[in-house]
């Protein structure tokens, strides 16, 4: 699964991140690179700092928002 390290870092750091719930966190490997008000801001810093290497932008939430689809879809999981 892509971004496995970043997902693990998010899960580990969530107790500390939760005070910024609603903001977007930028994670590179096991590094929390910052939190930002918008997805676009976090994405821009991600590309500026990490270029084409792996990084993850995620909205901080105590309970992760689930995307729901009323039709069946075939999603890529890699």
């Amino acid at each position: 699964m892509a971004l496995e390290q970043e997902q693990q870092t998010y899960a580990q750091e969530l107790p500390h991140l939760i005070e910024s719930a609603g903001k977007f966190v930028l994670i590179h490997g096991n590094l929390i690179a910052g939190t930002y008000d918008t997805y676009q801001d976090a994405l821009k810093v991600g590309y500026d700092r990490f270029g084409l290497t792996s990084f993850m932008v995620k909205q901080i939430a105590a309970v992760e928002r689930v995307s729901r689809f009323t039709r069946d879809i075939s999603v890529c999981r890699t």
Partner: protein, 145 residues
């Protein structure tokens, strides 16, 4: 308020959308002297039953994208257990006769729409910023921004 009124198609509220790489990714590619992938015109349908926009994997692959996020999703076949899937940052735009309509840079999920006559779904993450009128009587829909 710019708007489009289009006929309903057999697959629903279908429209042509331009899909490209996000501006930050474009800047990185330019700085590295790498080729910028052309925007891809794709046929998407508006789907109020989708909370997130989905794009066909072939389009994402053509743009050379790698994941910059993840999402938990539920579909009829996942039951009550959400699965994790990668998300990609893309730029979406609509070709309007009088306006260059940008839907902005958003995270999307990759999916396989082979054989369905479409290359993706525009979900409520985009539609929440629009006015959508479904006119079944005249077999048209209007999308206003």
């Amino acid at each position: 308020m710019p708007h489009l009124t289009l006929p309903l198609s057999p697959v629903g509220c279908a429209l042509e959308v331009y899909i490209g790489i996000s501006e930050p990714r474009r800047a990185v590619l330019l700085a590295a002297g790498l080729a910028i992938p052309n925007v891809i015109q794709s046929r998407l349908i508006l789907d109020t039953g989708a909370t997130t926009t989905l794009i066909d994997e072939s389009v994402l692959k053509s743009l050379g994208l790698t994941p910059t996020g993840t999402a938990q999703i539920l579909t009829p076949s996942t039951g009550g257990t959400a699965i994790t899937c990668p998300m990609y940052d893309v730029f979406l735009g609509i070709n309007h006769p009088n306006h260059a309509l940008s839907l902005g840079t958003i995270p999307v999920i990759g999916s396989d729409f082979t054989g369905q006559g479409i290359q993706g779904l525009v979900g409520c993450d985009v539609l929440k910023g629009c006015l959508l009128i479904y006119d079944g009587v005249s077999a048209t829909f209007t999308l206003a921004f």
